[in-house]
Amino acid sequence: MALLELQDIHTYYGAIHALKGISIHVDEGEIVTLIGANGAGKSTTLNTICGLQHPRSGSVTLKGESIQHLPAHEIVTRGVAQAPEGRRVFGRLNVTENLEMGAFVRVDKDGIKRDMERVFTLFPRLKERAKQVAGTLSGGEQQMLAIGRALMASPRLLLLDEPSMGLAPILVEAIFDTITEINAQGTTVLLVEQNALIALSVASRGYVMETGSIRLADTAEALRNNEMVRRVYLGET
């Protein structure tokens, strides 16, 4: 059984039909990527999974249980955490407090402490800045914090929305190395990216979205070699 499955999801923003029948699935242990241009509906898909948006029809199931009617804060307790687009760290709280907020739903003090150490091992930069107010961190550090904060919920499924956005290439590479590492430690990842090249290099499978629908679904390898993907998303001629 798939860890996460979306079946024929239709989501609206007011009158705008943002998702027009999306069906995807993510299996335990995978990195799956959702690529596509601006406005294709990638973030809306993540927000529909997280409960920030509710689909008008269709179903979202997590381990066979349907969750599409649940509010966002309850979905976190089921093991889904998101590092949202634009990082959205709490700028007035310090790094440690941000991480504590990530673990808001948990009560196991020892586990929280262990995960805090784990995040500091993954991102040593955050440890150096543990008491610094998050609003004063650089863009790369904020991205690390956003991912670390999501990990603090100890999720089974980690949703990442544009982790490469606005970062220097060398930082992007470091972040994606860490994403691979997080996955190797046992967390399933659903990754939304505009940077298709790097997304397809870490993912095992991928979906290509266009204006609210899934255009292509295949292994990352096959997508990298797909003529249309090469032309449109990898910028090759």
């Binding site: 966002a72 804060h73 949202p84 760290v89 907020m101 990530g102 808001f104 904060r149």
Partner: protein, 355 residues
């Protein structure tokens, strides 16, 4: 060089600065004239300052309700002054009952605590009901809509209390032990006992609130929600619950403030919330609305200034009955702050933060 400077400075700016300088000159001149006339003794200034601190600490308890709600909902809860009024108003009936049974005279402090708890409960209930009935259904509406609703709710509550309990002034029973002064050791001046009690209780509650917001998990979740509701929801924070908690905290502080206010002025009335409410709102803006420390600081600043300034500044200018002008003075200060530092003393620029 000079020309470039002139081009950058518009006529309005110059005009504003002239107003500012004029205000400053008037203040300095007034202070100088008052002090050199020697009409007041040092102990008078101490009395006025203590009174200002007492007044300011009550403002601070109310102002926190405005600023916490603003921080989270970006909305001015104009009905907060009625949340403040309702607690001590119902508390009055409890105090009267206790007084008639003779319990109030035998155990004045236990009675005061009972009245305080009743007032806090009533104010909290009203605040939570307001949120549930008047504001939550409008959460997604344009910002002007809940503002108008708040004004409507304010009048609804005022006139409900007027209708139920009449328009008369209701006098709180006096506590014999709180009459008179406690002298400052080694000086000729002292502090009114009620003022001392008000100041101490207010500061204790402010300290508890500060620790709650800064140190507890729920307090930090409140800060997180005030920064970014969606991101907070993604952490598993139940945003609606945090909003309710915010109204609970604001309501409880307002109820407590109401009892302290009733201790200072020994009476309640259906429209007693209006002036302290709008003053506390002014103080919250002075300190930087949305900022907890700012609200406390702005309130003490406002309390002390409106107590000191009429005598300190206006008296020297030869104005008759300067004390009658203290309310006008409070609002002149609000306007001055809005002109020269729109974000308040500790406020951050919202526009920058949003970007």
């Amino acid at each position: 060089m000079l020309r470039r400077l002139l081009r950058r400075v518009s006529g309005t700016t110059v005009f504003m600065w002239l107003i500012g300088i004029a205000m400053l000159v008037v203040v300095v001149w007034g202070v100088y004239a008052t002090l050199s006339s020697g009409r007041y003794k040092a102990s008078d200034w101490i009395d006025l300052t203590v009174y200002g601190i007492a007044q300011g600490s009550v403002y601070a308890l109310i102002a926190l309700g405005y600023t916490l709600v603003y921080g989270i909902l970006r909305m001015i809860n104009f009905a907060h002054s009625e949340v403040f009024m309702s607690g001590p108003f119902i508390g009055y009936f409890v105090a009267m009952a206790l007084s008639q049974s003779g319990f109030f005279n035998r155990q004045p402090f236990v009675s005061l605590i009972i009245v305080l708890l009743v007032a806090m409960t009533v104010s909290t209930t009203i605040a939570v009901l307001l949120e549930r009935i008047a504001y939550r259904p409008l959460r997604r509406a344009p910002r002007l809509v809940p503002l108008i609703t708040a004004i409507g709710a304010s009048y609804f509550l005022q006139y409900t209390f007027l209708g139920l309990f009449g328009s008369g002034i209701k006098g709180y029973p006096e506590v014999a032990q709180l009459k008179g002064y406690w002298p400052f050791p080694g000086t000729s001046s002292g502090i009114l006992r009620t003022q001392a009690v008000v100041i101490v209780s207010a500061f204790v509650m402010l300290a508890i609130l500060y620790v709650f917001v800064q140190r507890t998990k729920t307090g930090k979740a409140m800060q997180a929600v005030s920064e970014d509701k969606d991101a907070a929801a993604l952490m598993g924070i139940d945003v609606d619950r945090i909003i309710v908690i915010t109204f609970v905290v604001g309501g409880a502080l307002a109820g407590a403030a109401g009892v302290l206010y009733a201790l200072l002025f020994k009476q309640v009335k259906f429209d007693m919330g209006f002036l302290p409410g709008i003053k506390a709102f002014t103080a919250a803006v002075l300190g930087g609305i949305g900022n907890v420390n700012g609200a406390m600081l702005g309130s003490l600043f406002l309390g002390i200034s409106e107590s000191l300034f009429p005598n300190l500044v206006l008296d020297g200018l030869g104005l008759p009955a300067p004390y009658q002008l203290k309310d006008a003075l409070a609002f002149i200060m609000l306007v001055a702050v809005l002109i020269f530092r729109p974000t308040g003393i500790l406020g951050e620029r919202l526009a920058v933060k949003k970007a």
